[in-house]
Each structure stands twice: as structure tokens, then as C-alpha cells.
Symmetry: C2
């Protein structure tokens, strides 16, 4: 069927599109970029070609169709346009696959209709993902296009981890369960950790700490995800940049009754004005660390709360797994903040976890071990690459079909 | 001042009053009982004297005043009435002490007014507690009466554990924080565990698992509580008889928007129709275990979910404490269910936790070790006695004043 060796990965948000063109022969990035503020008076396209300077274009992008055409133009200018025979497929990141999609899926009309049916459980994400798919299909109706779901890797959670302890009828009626997110990253990083250790993923138990703007933890037993911190929505779990993560559900009732806040206001509070931002006014961990080191009490509280929550999950997943071979830090904070890594792993010798200060201080873009050689558990920094994982899953599916 | 050596402990709920008369010379129970269905057409008083048969009286108790007078009559019939000179004080269980009350407190008008001011954060509990206090004070205005708060033991939580990661201004304005509950039990059991081990509480790190109808875990470092699973309200944390414990806060938004449930309906769902009951239709662990052993899938899911949540907290608090000397099981399920204890501690050898099947199977009303002698962590069953703890704190305060 297809003879191309390149995959275009698209990640369409409500007002943005991120893209990467990947060479499947070696997994390298041929081009990447993003369009942001789609629909606003002044949008922006930033294109990063393999060689040469980044190209920026500030203008109005009326809709996702206009944005994707502009992306296609940039790629064409690099002689890698959407019509190039080297393009084997387009891989779409789709946030919510529900219970229906637990594997990468070749897109057709029925699949789009199914993704649409999931909008009630993913109102913020799936509509934009669908728009991206529709525009891309209109441009290249003949090309295989694949949906890779953020929830898929977590489909293996056992029922006792996936079900909330609420009335089952209500749960089933409204499709309430722990779906988990960031799955592509947890999958990629857990495998990359096995590779780093020269071990078979099937024999390795790994705790992955994905600490970006959004943040989540997962417990992966022999390559299979058995627990994860995000739930029905990406709000649950760790403290994030602007999201609260776990709170007493009674807090919602309290703010509604005593505080007079509407459900929408509380949603906005917990999703957009909480987390590090809510605790100290900054949601960028670099700034939080800098202020904390300068003695700022609010920033110190934010840092300590962030770390404390991660430690609770780390220990919790340790108990869930019974035996832990590796802990992997990934995403913006996990890959770059030696301070967070050191604080998360401090005083955990009883769990066999510790970090070598010198190894932890090394800055690198490569996967690396940061625990001392005597550690029972290997602690590692493993850069994530969701786009590569999406491209690989897309390419594999296209060749399997 | 007082020469009495007995303390009456009162626990007033919205439609019930529980009581115990305790001899402070040896901590023994002289009498106990409860009045239930206060205000209903047919209430019930059950009085358990030290010797002789239980006395039951089924009739209408119009209000707490009537109920408490009936209790006084029962005690008087045993020659231990409220006017007896041996009565040194009355100790009242009060659920919510907020940030204001972190120690047992001698009750006066100002204290009652302060407890009243906390009603917005404890709407279900504090009003009934206040009624109990007022009726008891009216009956014995001259007698020292002491409030012992369910939240007090958790007042030592560090800010990074007590604060939710939400906007600080909103949190402060509406007094949102982790208060924790069952504090009297966690305090009593952590000390009793030290006693069982012949160790000083100040040098012992203990994880207490209070598993009753309500359930909560706490991490106690050197006698000081540093983390606990219930939060702003008693809804957060472990799976309970009818309460969900932790859920994605997004679940509330989802059920409101997609399910069309009101905030009150969701509150009712999570507090009264969730937990073991929601998952399998039974909230009594005996019944859940029996059904699960008979192969009932729903009961098995409920049991597994219950245990899984406890394991996550156990491991999480292990990481919070860094070093754990003992794990103590207490309350109805913790003291009686060998099945739950075995499942919670299974496959945790890497944490130094295990249970000896024979020791675990022993039935006893006394504190006992159930881990094998080689275990790094001592696992124990430690019966709780909140009434005795309240009596002791009450008696100590009265003698200190
Ligand atoms: N050197 C650094 N030290 C600490 N935090 C960093 C550093 N570099 C990036 N970050 C954090 O990483 C976050 C972004 O992570 P990323 O994984 O890119 O997020 P996203 O979830 O949007 O993919 C930033 O908000 C910033 O707080
Ligand atoms: N033998 C037993 N096996 C398992 N569970 C038990 C047993 N005995 C009592 N329980 C459980 O203990 C629960 C009550 O615990 P208790 O501590 O008395 O509750 P409360 O929170 O009301 O004080 C009951 O609902 C029951 O499920």
C-alpha cells in the first residue's frame, strides 16, 4: 500500500494546532511548529524547519482549516508538503477514547462519529481533535489517518483501580470511571526506561512521573499500566501548574453552599486558578523555585505542596506494585528541575530510592540514570516524546493493515 | 477543686446521643448506652449498666433535652446520677474545632459561641454537638464541661499537607483546608501502639488505619500527626461504608452538567449511596466478605476497591514518613476483619510489611501484634477507645485548671 516513510503528527487544541513531521527510518524530526490563537484577530504560526532559521508569521487564522492550510504551505516550502509521496500517514492525537478506543485506530467516518459520541466526557478536548481530523481528511482524503488516544494506555487498569467507589448504576449511566490521560507519554517513557536499563519492559515495574504543565503519575507493571493519577478528567491527582489535582469532593459542595460559587465558577477555580498558580501566583516551576530559593514563603509552600503530593503518589504506587525497579521523571519539570527530583526522592532510603546529587545536577537531553549504583530502585530522567510515539503507533498500524 | 473520679462522655448526633460513664481510677466503663431516633414518634434508649441486664426503653424522646434527662434517670437508677459527687466532669465530643480549637477546651459561653461560628464548615455535626453541650450545661451548670475536638489531633499537619492547592484567597475566605477527623481515635491508637511496643511515642512513626463505618488513615511521626486522609469534610480519603472517599473533583462537574444532578443530589450520592454500598449494595464489611467468598463479583470489586485505596494510602504515608515503625489497624473493620488486614498487607515485603496468618486469625479484644518477628515494620491490631481518650483529656484538663 503506502511506500512513504514519513508521518505527520497533528495535535489540534481548541485554538491551536501543533505538528511534527517525523522520518520513520530513524525517528528524527524533519520539521515542527505550531499555530496559536486560531480565530483571534492576531494569530501566530511558528515553523521550525530541520535546517535554517525558524519562520514566524503573525496574522489572522480564521479557523482550523486556514491554520492547517498555512502549515501545509510551510511544509511545501520545505519540499515536504502534504501531497509529497513520502508522507505515509497522518497521526492525530485524540484526548479521549473512552472505553471504546484502547488502541490506535484507522480513521473513517464511523470512527469520527464514535469520537464525537465521547464529547460529553471530554468536552474541552475532543471537539478540537475532531476538527483537526476533519480538516486533515478533507485535505488528504486518500491518505491513511490514525487516531492515537491519550487514554488508551490506561485501558488495562484493573476494575478496582478504574472504578470510583460510587453507585454503579449512576457511574455506568454517565460513563464515570478513571480513564487517565498522558497515556502516550507514560507508554513511551516506561518503554524508554526499560531500554535505558537494558531490560525487557515485560519484566520491569516502573513508576512514571510526568510533570509538565499538566502532571500525572502512573504505575506500570511489566509494560502494563495498572494505576494512574488523572481520572475521569485531567483534573485529578498531582498538583499542576494551574490545576488543583486532588481535593475533598466536599470542597465543591462547601464553596457552592457557603461561598455561593456556581459549579462553573468552581470548575474554573480548580482548573485554571489553582495548583502552583493558586498557591503562589506563578505556574512556571522555574519561577517557583527561584522565588523559594530567595526565601519567598508562598513559593516555598507551593513547591512543598507540589513535592508532597508527588511523594504520596510515589509511595502509593510503590505499594500498588509491590516491587519497583525504576522511577522515571519526565516532561518539562521532570526533565529539567533537579530541585524537584531531589526533593521528591529525599529521605526515601527505606524504599530503596535515592538520588546522586552530581548525577542529578547533570543537564542533558538524553535519558539518564540519576540514582547511585547501590540504589535498589533505579531513578532516571527520561525525556518524553509523545509525537514520536504517536508517529510510531500510526506507522505501525498503517503497515499492519 | 473537684474531687470526683468519674467522667461522663457525651457524643450528641443530630438524632442520637451516645454516652459512657468512665471511672478514671482505672479507665473502666461504669455504664454506657445510647438514645436514638430523637424527635421521631418512636425513639429508643438502650442502657448498658456495669452489671445486670441491658435496659431498653422504646418511646418518644421529643428532643435532646428529653433524651439527656432519660439518660440521667438511667444513671441515677444505678446510683451514678448526674448529681453524684463522684462525677468530676462531662466531656463532649465535638466534631469540628476549626483552626481555633486544637486542644481540649473548658466550655463557657464564649467557647459555645465559637463552636457555633464553625457551623458553616461542619453543618452536619456541630449543631448537634452544641445542642448536647447546652442541654448538659443546663442540667449541671456548676460542673466543669470540656469539649474534645475530632479535628484537634490533626492541627499539627504542616501547611503543605493541610492546604489544598487552590487559590489562597478563596481558601482563606471560606476557611478551606484539610482539618481531618477521627482525631481522638488516631491519637489514642498511635499512643496505644507505642505502649504495645514498649516504646516512647516520641520516637515512633506509626500509620494508623481507622476502618469503621467512616474510615481514615493518618501518619503520626513521633506522636505528632503529619498527614491524614479526611479533609475539609469527612468525605475525602478511603472508601467507606457509604462514602466514596476520593473522586476526581471533575466528577462533580460531570454529573452536574451531563447527568443533570443538582449539587445536593451529588452530595447525597457521594456521602450516602457510595462506598461499599454503591459498589455492591452492602455497606457492612462482614456481608461484603461473605458474598465475595461466595464468588459474588460485585462484592469482590467492592472489597478489592476498598483494599486498593488503603494500600495507596499506606504506601503514600510510608513515603511521607520516610521510616515506618508500625502500622495499626483499628475500628470495626480494622479490629475484626482478618481478611481486610491480610489483603492490605499482602505483597508488601519490599516495604518491610507483612502479616503472620496465624497471628492475624486470632480473635481478641486486646491490642496485639500480627506481623512475624522478622518484619521491619510491626503490624498491629489496636482497639480504639475514643470515649476513654475523651474522658482522659477531660479529666486531665479539669485537674490542670
Ligand atoms: N529548567 C526548568 N526548571 C523547572 N521547570 C521547568 C524548567 N523548564 C521547563 N520547566 C517547566 O515545564 C513546564 C512545561 O512542561 P511541558 O512538559 O512542556 O508542558 P506541557 O504539559 O504543556 O507539555 C513549564 O511550565 C515549566 O514550569
Ligand atoms: N467481624 C467483622 N468483620 C468485618 N467487619 C466487621 C466485623 N465486625 C464489625 N465490622 C465492621 O465494622 C463496621 C463498624 O465499625 P465501627 O468502628 O463500629 O463504626 P463507626 O465508624 O460507626 O464507629 C461495620 O459496618 C462492619 O462493617
Amino acid at each position: 500500500m503506502t511506500t512513504g516513510t514519513r508521518v505527520l503528527v497533528l495535535n489540534a487544541g481548541s485554538s491551536s494546532v501543533k505538528y511534527q513531521l517525523i522520518d520513520m527510518l530513524d525517528g528524527s524530526r524533519l520539521a515542527s511548529g505550531l499555530v496559536e490563537r486560531i480565530g483571534e484577530a492576531e494569530g501566530r504560526l511558528l515553523h521550525l524547519p530541520l535546517t535554517g532559521e525558524p519562520r514566524e508569521s503573525v496574522r489572522r487564522f480564521a479557523d482550523h482549516d486556514g491554520a492547517l492550510r498555512a502549515v501545509a504551505d510551510e511544509l511545501a516550502a520545505d519540499l515536504m508538503g502534504l501531497d509529497s509521496p513520502e508522507l505515509a500517514a497522518i497521526g492525530h492525537r485524540v484526548v479521549h477514547g473512552g472505553l471504546r478506543f484502547t488502541r490506535p485506530t484507522l480513521i473513517n467516518d464511523a470512527v469520527v462519529a464514535e469520537i464525537r459520541r465521547l464529547i460529553p466526557v471530554a468536552p474541552l478536548h475532543n471537539p478540537a481533535n475532531i476538527t483537526g481530523i476533519e480538516v486533515a481528511r478533507a485535505m488528504r482524503p486518500d491518505l491513511p489517518q490514525v487516531a492515537v488516544f491519550d487514554t488508551a494506555f490506561h485501558a488495562t487498569l484493573p476494575e478496582h483501580a478504574a472504578r470510583y467507589a460510587i453507585d454503579r448504576k449512576t457511574a455506568d449511566e454517565h460513563r464515570v470511571r478513571r480513564y487517565g490521560f498522558h497515556g502516550t507519554s507514560h507508554q513511551y517513557v516506561s518503554r524508554a526506561t526499560a531500554r535505558l536499563l537494558g531490560r525487557d519492559p515485560a519484566e520491569l515495574n516502573v513508576i512514571v512521573l510526568h510533570l509538565g504543565n499538566g502532571a500525572s503519575a502512573s504505575a506500570v507493571a511489566g509494560g502494563v499500566c495498572v494505576e494512574t493519577s488523572m481520572g475521569l478528567t485531567p483534573l485529578e491527582g498531582l498538583v499542576m501548574g494551574t490545576r488543583s489535582g486532588d481535593v475533598d469532593p466536599g470542597l465543591v459542595f462547601h464553596l457552592h453552599r457557603v461561598g455561593g460559587l456556581s459549579v462553573d465558577q468552581i470548575d474554573d477555580l480548580l482548573n485554571r486558578r489553582s495548583g502552583l498558580l493558586g498557591l503562589c501566583g506563578d505556574n512556571d516551576m522555574r519561577e517557583v523555585v527561584r522565588r523559594a530559593q530567595d526565601g519567598d514563603e508562598d513559593a516555598k509552600l507551593a513547591f512543598d505542596s507540589y513535592v508532597h503530593r508527588i511523594r504520596r503518589y510515589l509511595g502509593g504506587y510503590y505499594a500498588v506494585l509491590g516491587r519497583v525497579d525504576a522511577v522515571a521523571f519526565t516532561a518539562g519539570v521532570g526533565e529539567n528541575s533537579a530541585e524537584v527530583r531531589a526533593a521528591v526522592c529525599a529521605n526515601l532510603e527505606e524504599l530503596g530510592i535515592s538520588v546522586d546529587p552530581e548525577l542529578n545536577a547533570v543537564r542533558s537531553r538524553h535519558a539518564r540514570v540519576i540514582s547511585p549504583s547501590y540504589g535498589r530502585v533505579t531513578v532516571a530522567v527520561v525525556p518524553t516524546n509523545e509525537e514520536l510515539e504517536i508517529a510510531q503507533q500510526t506507522f505501525a498500524l498503517v503497515h499492519e493493515v
